[in-house]
Amino acid sequence: MKVALFATCLVDTMVPQVATATAVLLERLGHDVVVPPGQSCCGQMHVNTGYRREAVPIVANHVRAFAGALSSGVEAIVAPSGSCVASIHHQQAMVARRAGDHALADDAAALADRTYELSQFLVDVLGVTDVGAYYPHRVTYHPTCHSLRMLRVGDRPLQLLRAVRGLDLVELPAADQCCGFGGTFAVKNAETSTAMLTDKMANVLSTHAEVCTAGDASCLMHIGGGLSRLRAGTRTVHLAEILASTEEAVTPRQSTSPAVPR
């Protein structure tokens, strides 16, 4: 299948290895990956902070970048981010329609129909749970709020992780509690955000996992940034990176939180 990769603004700029891992994984599964040029952002941060009108040109850019891909044989758009995919599904058409641009709204809705978060694409579209990965580490999984409640990815990421060879999956206590990231919430309400992060980190550390994973780079940057500051020794690694790892090849420069000397 020909698949277009939406790297998302954060992954592309801050953690490119996550997008690389997504591409490596999809190619290993036999698919043809294209990266449409001109892509930048889904517009979520603008919408969620109240810049609804300013989000419209961002949505238009997203539609422009990907609409061409669909007409050139791409069957699905995949992004390694539950939150951005949720925004594509729930917000893009809404902001365009509110701004009176119904053509854009229709195009955005049509693209949304073909857009999948990585674990949904693997399990629902490709029908695979064993992606042939090897990752010999103790791992705990944080189901980010937007993946869990807006996209309803359910236990798909866990199904995928359970099939990874060598991986020791440990349950995260109070997993469904928000980590406190929340986009600009982390800055606008920094103290409350930190209080939530503190509890999330305590739960992560209680599992004695080496790695905390999730399907959203943004939440991982927040949790990983906190763990790194604590010099806790537990790293954050995106789900795509784990799934892309094999015995032969480990993806380059893995881990989203900076390595901490122990």
């Binding site: 930048s40 850019n61 709020c145 409350t192």
Partner: protein, 494 residues
């Protein structure tokens, strides 16, 4: 219809200076204080996790909860679409049964009406059934200013009143207090203890505390000639009012005094008894985690020789019609005040109810208060959420609180008269993100952040604001040399 568009007059919001819908500090400032209060955090964490578990257990045992919830949502939406007709029907029915209906545009008018009614009875004290509407309009303070003492009879409300505190939760106003603190308040303020001096018998055992409150309240019930209540529901077809409660204090107030005054927000009306059936199933499970609440009191008008002989219903707008006019925000009026959203909210759990500065705290407060007052009067509240969506999941009438929060944020941004530095930054970012050439430049600029890190994996903590708000507690990774798309083009030629 006139050919000239005269425009809609803007609908009035809840007035300033009356009632309790606005805080005097922004949410982050007020939260800072409560976040440092370890006792408060412990009390709240304990209470909310207990009630969360109870709620989940009793909701999970209802096989058709999803359908029930959808029925609740649909009834509310249909009722709001014809609110005017239902309210007129309610008025007719209440009047036909010997009650009197009063319409209050805002908190001031509502308070004036109630004061006038109480004064007409010649008494200078009233007993009260726990009511959010009277909290909202600041009725107790208004009564006090008019020389009328209002005695709260709900246990938690009584604790708050005696402690000269303010409520911090819709259902459990004293959720932030623990048993030892309650005992201390009782010993300090209840006349029965003051006469005897110290009372060694009053331990902080819940039963002992409840007995003390009972002795205190019984005397009040028997003396009272006027009671003031709120209402959980009003059935338009028969003019029936309903109060749902756990302790029975409400029933004492609703039956013993001669005069009963009910103060109710206009959104509480439901068309028929059949509608009530749905909410009486949704409410107790969502709020107290009980299958059914112990007391449901229903009354319509007056009955000679039985119960109150005079009944007044005060219908309060106080900003509600303005909320109703907003097609996205109006769903906040569907709220049945179960407080389930507060109990699951991670922000409420940490920051506590007082940080919201309004009688309506938590997720529902973050959308309702700014709408009732006008968003500029409560501008920090729509941002007091990480948009995690837990509130939407538990809401028994499926109010999409996260979407309303996002909508109100936009209303706030669009209402700004002066351009803020934040708006400048977001507009510049939007420009870059919608222009591929500029976006590549912006990404390169981000990559230059490497210079700050001097080869370390993280950026230094001493960054200028707003980055400093992040780096106070979290490391920020050093941006990579090359973006993913750059690398892809370099390796694959596109």
């Amino acid at each position: 219809m006139s050919a000239v568009d005269l425009g809609m007059p803007s609908l009035p919001h809840a007035p300033r200076g009356v009632g309790h819908l606005r805080g005097d500090r922004s949410f982050p400032d007020a939260a800072r204080e409560s976040l440092r209060d370890g006792q408060l955090r412990a009390n709240l964490g304990h209470a909310t996790s207990t009630i969360r578990a109870k709620r989940k257990a009793v909701v999970d045992e209802v096989p058709d909860w999803a359908e029930l919830r959808e029925a609740g949502r649909a009834i509310k939406a249909a009722t709001m679409a014809r609110l005017d007709e239902h309210l007129v029907a309610l008025e007719e029915q209440v009047t036909a049964r010997g009650g009197t209906v009063h319409w209050a545009r805002d908190a001031e008018e509502a308070n004036e009406i109630v004061i006038r009614l109480v004064q007409a009875t010649g008494t200078d004290e009233v007993v009260k059934v726990k009511s959010m509407a009277t909290q909202e309009i600041g009725l107790n303070e208004a009564l006090e200013a008019a020389g009328i003492a209002a005695h709260e009879t709900d246990l938690a409300e009584l604790i708050v009143q005696l402690g000269e505190d303010t409520p911090s939760h819709i259902l459990v106003p004293a959720i932030h207090k623990n048993r030892a603190e309650i005992r201390e308040i009782f010993l300090r303020t209840m006349p029965q203890f003051q006469e005897q001096g110290v009372d060694a018998d009053l331990t902080d055992e819940p039963r002992r505390l409840a007995m003390a409150a009972r002795a205190h309240l019984r005397e009040r019930f028997l003396r009272a000639r006027v009671a003031i209540s709120g209402a959980n529901f009003a059935v338009a077809e028969t003019g029936t009012l309903a109060v749902v409660e756990s302790e029975g204090n409400g029933r004492m107030c609703l039956t013993l005094p001669r005069t009963l005054i009910t103060v109710m927000g206009i959104e509480k009306v439901v068309p028929t008894w059949r509608d009530l059936e749905v909410f009486l199933q949704l409410l107790p499970r969502s709020s107290t985690g009980e299958r059914m609440n112990p007391y449901t009191s229903l009354w319509a008008g007056v009955t000679p020789g039985d119960g109150p002989q005079e009944f007044h219903l005060v219908l309060v707008d106080n900003g509600r019609t303005a909320v109703l006019a907003d097609e996205v925000g109006r769903a906040a009026l569907h709220c049945i005040r179960c407080s389930a959203c507060l109990n699951v909210c991670p922000v409420y759990e940490r920051a506590g109810g007082h940080a919201y500065g309004s009688v309506y705290p938590g997720p529902i407060g973050a959308v309702l208060s700014p709408q009732l007052t006008g968003v500029e009067d409560n501008a920090s509240l729509p941002y007091a959420s990480s948009l995690c969506g837990a509130c939407y999941d538990v809401c028994p009438v499926a109010i999409d609180i996260p979407s309303i929060l996002v909508h109100l944020r936009a209303e706030h941004v669009e209402a700004q008269e002066r351009t803020t530095p934040e708006a400048v930054a977001f507009r510049a970012l939007a420009k870059a993100m919608s222009t591929p050439r500029l976006w590549r430049l912006a990404q390169r600029a981000a990559g230059l952040g490497r210079l700050l890190s001097r080869g370390k994996p993280t950026l230094p903590a001493a960054l200028p604001p707003p980055a400093s708000k992040w780096t106070r507690t979290r490391d920020l990774p050093t941006p990579p040399r090359e973006t993913f798309t750059q690398q892809w083009v370099r390796e694959r030629g596109r």
